[in-house]
């Protein structure tokens, strides 16, 4: 690995300035669990790493029934899944963050980093999509907000311009009678990369029989994690029945655009999208029904 400059700014402004490398190859460093591996594998080189963990705003984790969840970009996975409020309000986020790598990796790896790494298989991304997360971005031109499903633009690519950085993720408060779930399929039970990942969220009516709206997001079946909008939309107004779930799974399969690689064939992935969509919806609906009645 070529040596590089390591800087650890303590303010956003400083970080933004350092990230704009004026021709230097600069990357932000949060947990480092992806970037250090990629650097060692010579997938790319950097002249400067900007460690963003020292910036207070990026370590923010606030979760309340008033404002929903604000998740700083440098918050490691364990802080997410060990947070009782998050576990109660956003169990799908716990599903995803507790799957990323090992306990060791979860001590360091962040949801923000998982998103910025923009792997098609990134486990937290479908979960963020179904939960309606938005990305708070800071840069030389100021702040902007991007829907999480628009953040990734290709394998390893995202919307961040030079000098821009992800500051935090904002997740709206889940509505009453809603539930969500993320799951993935891997050959091993842990320490693996998703062959397919699926997240699903549903909002039920007050009787908890009918689906008012649903979102389904897919991982590892397209160049980026994918919001399967039609698959979710067709559930709106339907009974939470097996037939409806089956149809949504079919639509999700149609939305998938998988490739064949060493982790799975396109055919297997398409099949798994159907299987996992049904399972994800099943658990999401069950969770929606479990919650306390408003």
């Amino acid at each position: 690995m070529q040596d590089f400059e390591y800087v650890a700014p303590t303010t956003l402004e400083e970080a933004v300035r350092l990230l704009d490398g004026n021709g230097l190859k600069v990357k932000a460093l949060a947990g480092g669990t992806d970037i250090l591996v990629q650097l060692r594998a010579n997938r790319f080189q950097v002249d400067r790493l900007v460690d963003i963990k020292g910036i207070p705003e990026l370590n923010q984790l606030s979760c309340s029934e008033a404002d929903g969840l604000t998740l700083g970009a440098a918050v490691p996975c364990y802080r997410v899944y060990e947070d009782e409020r998050i576990a109660r309000l956003y169990p799908a986020l716990v599903d995803a963050t507790s799957l990323i790598g090992s306990i060791q990796v979860q001590s360091r790896g962040t949801v923000g980093g998982n998103l910025c790494n923009a792997a098609p298989s990134g486990d937290s991304i479908p979960a963020l999509i179904i939960l309606g997360a938005t990305c708070e971005i800071a840069g030389p031109k100021g702040r902007r907000t991007v829907q999480v499903e628009r953040f990734c633009t290709g394998p390893g690519r995202n919307v961040l311009e030079p000098g821009e950085m992800l500051v935090s993720l904002k997740l709206p408060l889940p509505k009453a009678n809603s539930g969500a779930h993320f799951l993935r399929f891997t050959p091993r039970k842990e320490m693996d990369i998703a062959v397919v990942g699926v997240g699903a969220s549903v909002l039920l009516d007050d009787a908890r029989q009918r689906i008012l709206s649903a979102r389904i997001a897919l991982g590892a079946v397209a160049p980026t994690p994918l919001l399967a909008r039609e698959a979710g939309d067709l559930l709106a107004g339907r009974e939470a029945s097996e037939a409806a779930i089956e149809e949504a799974a079919k639509a999700a399969r149609a939305a998938a655009r998988p490739i064949t690689d060493i982790r799975g064939t396109a055919r297997q992935r398409t099949h798994l999208v159907g299987v996992l969509t049904k399972r994800a919806l099943g658990t999401a609906i069950a969770r929606a029904k479990e919650g306390k009645k408003p």
């Binding site: 040596d3 050959p187 091993r188 062959v195 982790r263």
Partner: protein
């Protein structure tokens, strides 16, 4: 999952030390991080070496330009194959060369051709590993790509094909045997290239002193093999090379081959500094010898009583880029643990542009056993027989002949199979759908080569036992225990040290499950010699005849006068002033390790929607002969089972279109994690080996052999699908289930 406490171990001889669960000698060092492994070494002036590897699976090297690398600040030296005297100006002659120093040199640094992607081409020594690695990327190699042979299928048997050699074993008349059969099953099965998966990468540090002495600190299964290869490759006498063994962080056959030691030595010579080389995990996967892939065609027939009337095996094993696959291991155990009158076994060693394969736990036997035990399971089904009953019907007994014609010595496989059949696991109900149970049985033959040992009596009554046999998994303890048994001492009082090549007689590589058996024989012989000398010393002190001295339970007595009594420790304390210390060196020739037997029962559950296999319950059976340390024997069984399960379900080399390994990390080369396995129950039976005074048999390798087929048979019984290609990955099972559904 619940922790089951089913750790059975039955029967033990009238022993005091052998058969107990004593604390391992290397344990405290290992749990405190003090044990020094291959890479755990530093010294003043140390440089770091890195290897440049070929991106091509097959190419001619037109030229290598190292000038830019040499110009990088911090770089102190660069080496290529031209620095190996054995290579300079010599063509490679494959005639009969299964493995020799010339081939080893060619693997270590490619000469005129690179034969696989990952083949080492050049090496750099620099002041830091980072600089050395940067420098390798500045070396310009001009390659001329050649045709890549990736299949190694053994289909083409014509002269000039890629078959390096052919083995044939036969008995009786197979055509006649098949004529007598009521049921005939024919299958083609295959396994893929797999890796030993040791956690410690290869590491070697070498210092070439100005006086020409080369010292090597390395992680290896055999220091004398490293010495022989290194001296031959470097063209210097063996006496100029001293190899110091470090702890070995897993070998499983893989670390019987050498890759770094001569390179580190050459770099040290060129730079005048000690040079340390440590492989990355990627290098381990692409640059070291994996276990070989195999294609196997099996045809077996049985009559209505279940007697196997004939068997035919066609085995093609991929050797990789140089001849020498483990097909001999498969062929010589090809008929499995069955007594078959008519068989024909053809084994082919096939070369192709992949890594030169190396040994992996029971080399060649797992593949062949997967084939035969799958077909046996199918025969049992077709005959409507219980699979263990069919095995018992054809079980080999003492005096029956192995496929090689060599008769089986004293064995009792029937006892092992009866134990399996009556074990509660075998009759436990399989609760729930998509579940299945599989069984398989295996035998492995062992060679033997003898072993030397040196023993000294310390003044405090302890023993120092010195050997050159690398301890991979606890043999310091199991060998010391055997000496302690003879001398009436506690295991901890025999301090066994594995020393360097200058300090002990030439000792064989730790391979073939031989150390506890053969080094045990040497330790017993040394202990008996010490006992003889100690008795003589007691006789001298007591002024009696040596034959009047008796030794029992650690106490010397004189049978003429009961008052004369000395413990071993008391006598040891008097040695210095009664003629000096007692020491001896012995060489114990091999008495024949003999064959070993193992069996498995496994329950699986399949997720029919994803194809994922979950191992629900596992019971491993082994005839250990006398288990020297039952805890270690269980450990061998459990570790072997885990490796076998990985092989069966998730492990394989994946190659790109161009022939490079596509999964060079533990992320995509999926060895099982703790989440993927249940507790692995063990049942040790003990049929004493008549060729060892305590009845010890070999236990290290045979436990992996039945695992592949046991899991595959369980998958069949859960799904109705015969999986004939390993690994049985979720994708593969899913496809097979779909194909079955389409047929129905």
């Amino acid at each position: 999952m619940t922790a089951t406490a089913r750790q059975e171990s039955k029967g033990s001889g009238p022993f005091k030390v052998v058969g107990t669960r004593t604390t391992r000698h290397d344990g405290v060092d290992k749990v405190t991080g003090r044990a020094r492994f291959g890479a755990d070494i530093s010294m003043s002036g140390l440089l770091h070496g890195k290897v440049l590897r070929s991106p091509h699976a097959h190419a001619r090297i037109r030229s290598i330009d190292t000038s830019m690398a040499e110009a990088l600040p911090g770089v102190k030296g660069v080496a290529t194959a031209q620095d190996f005297p054995i290579i300079r100006g010599q063509a490679l002659d494959f005639s009969g060369a299964v493995s020799n120093a010339r081939v080893t040199a060619e693997v270590i640094l490619a000469h005129e051709r690179v034969m696989y992607a990952g083949h080492a081409v050049a090496a750099v020594a620099a002041t830091s590993p980072h600089i050395a690695e940067e420098a390798t990327r500045l070396i310009r190699v001009d390659y001329e790509a050649s045709r890549v042979e990736r299949l190694g299928s053994g289909e083409d048997t014509s002269p000039g094909s890629n078959i390096a050699s052919h083995i044939q074993l036969k008995r009786g008349d197979v055509e006649q045997g098949f004529g007598e059969a009521e049921v005939i099953v024919e299958r083609e099965l295959s396994t893929q290239t797999i890796h030993q998966g040791y956690i410690e990468p290869f590491a070697s540090t070498a210092h070439w002193a100005p006086d020409g002495h080369v010292t090597i600190w390395t992680t290896t299964q055999g220091i004398f093999g490293v010495r022989a290869s290194t001296s031959a490759i470097l063209g210097i006498p063996e006496s100029m090379v001293k190899v110091i063994p470090m702890e070995v962080g897993g070998g499983f056959g893989g670390k019987a081959s050498i890759y770094l030691d001569p390179v580190a030595a050459v770099l040290s010579k060129k730079t005048g500094h000690p040079v340390k080389m440590v492989m990355t995990r990627k290098e381990v996967f692409e640059g070291t010898g994996p276990g070989c892939a195999a294609i196997m065609r099996v045809k077996m027939g049985a009559d209505s009583s279940g007697r196997i009337t004939a068997a035919q095996f066609w085995l093609a094993y991929q050797a990789g880029a140089f001849p020498g696959s483990s097909v001999s291991g498969g062929a010589t155990t090809g008929t499995g643990p069955y007594n078959i009158d008519n068989f024909l076994i053809d084994g082919y060693d096939v070369v192709c542009n992949k890594q030169k394969t190396s040994g992996y736990r029971a080399p060649g036997q797992c593949q062949a056993n997967f084939a035969i035990e799958t077909v046996i399971d199918e025969l049992a089904e077709r005959l409507g027989m219980d699979p263990l009953e069919l095995r018992l019907k054809n079980v080999v007994k003492e005096g029956d002949r192995m496929p090689t014609g060599v008769p089986f010595p004293y064995i009792d496989l029937r006892k092992l199979e009866e134990t399996m059949k009556t074990h509660p696991h075998y009759s436990a109900p399989l609760e729930g759908p998509n579940r299945g149970r599989g069984v398989a049985v295996a035998f492995r033959g062992h060679g033997g080569q003898g072993a030397p040992a040196t023993m000294n009596v310390n003044a405090d009554g302890t023993i120092s036992l010195i050997t050159g046999a690398i301890d991979l998994s606890g043999t310091r303890t199991t060998v010391a225990m055997q000496a302690a048994e003879v001398l009436g001492l506690a295991a901890k009082d025999v301090i066994l040290t594995v020393v360097d090549t200058d300090s002990v007689a030439q000792t064989g590589t730790t391979a073939g499950s031989r150390v506890t058996f053969e080094m045990g024989l040497a330790a017993i012989a040394a202990a008996q010699e010490v006992k003889r000398q100690m008795s003589a010393r007691a006789a001298m002190l007591w002024e009696v005849q040596p034959e009047e001295v008796e030794f029992q339970d650690g106490v010397f007595t004189c049978n003429r006068s009961p008052a004369k009594r000395m413990t071993f420790k008391e006598l040891a304390g008097r040695l210095a002033r009664s003629g000096g210390p007692i020491t001896c060196s012995v060489y114990a020739p091999s008495t024949g390790i003999g064959p070993s037997f193992a069996g498995n029962i496994v329950d699986v559950e399949i997720d029919p929607e994803t194809g994922k296999v979950d191992i629900l319950r596992y019971t491993a059976f082994l005839d250990a002969g006398q288990a020297v340390h039952p805890g270690f024997v269980e450990g061998q069984m459990q570790g072997a089972t885990a490796q076998g399960i990985g092989w069966a379900l998730s492990e394989e080399y994946l190659y790109t279109e161009e022939g490079a390994v596509a999964n060079t990390s533990f992320l995509d080369y999926r060895t099982p994690t703790s989440m993927d396995l249940p507790m692995i129950d063990t049942v040790i039976i003990q049929v004493p080996n008549p060729h060892h005074p305590f009845g010890v048999r070999a236990v290290g390798e045979v436990p992996i052999v039945p695992t592949l087929a046991a899991v595959a048979n369980a998958v069949y019984h859960a799904t109705g699908v015969r999986m004939t290609r390993l690994p049985m990955s979720p994708g593969a099972i899913l496809e097979a289930l779909e194909a079955k559904k389409a047929q129905e």
